[in-house]
Symmetry: C2
């Protein structure tokens, strides 16, 4: 594996992991007041477009990180709609 | 400009904009209890590595978005250390 690909994979791991506390907080407290629907929609669209961009430039780190982040954001969105 | 570059720039704009409410909230309320130092450090490292990865693969959207996000995260970090 080349070095820059490795850097990208670590980057993707860290920024994806950064979503976990938020998902965990919502799951344990069932409180989604701190998260706005508009913010979730902006994030969902942004991360989806990063995923498409990753496919377009054949970037494995972008595809992996944004694919997993997308799943986490969809979980937050479902919980937001369910608990609100 | 090619289409995939355009997708990347829109993606970067949206995920960067997603940080703004958090920075604004900290600036107006001066309350940083909701943000953990560990989370900020993980995000800072992740976004910094995305920036390096962007330089490594010559990706303008990654360089721009993560460069600006990095500044916003550093602002949050300074405010966290200042108001805590």
């Amino acid at each position: 594996m080349n070095f820059i690909l490795f850097i990208g994979l670590i980057a993707g791991f860290l920024t994806t992991v950064a979503y976990v506390p938020e998902v965990h907080k919502i799951l344990t407290t069932k409180d989604t007041k701190g998260i706005s629907l508009l913010w979730l929609m902006i994030l969902l669209t942004g991360v989806f477009l990063w995923f498409i961009y990753g496919l377009g430039i054949y970037s494995l780190p972008l595809i992996l990180a944004n694919g997993i982040s997308l799943s986490l954001i969809i979980i937050m969105l479902i919980l937001k709609l369910k608990f609100h």
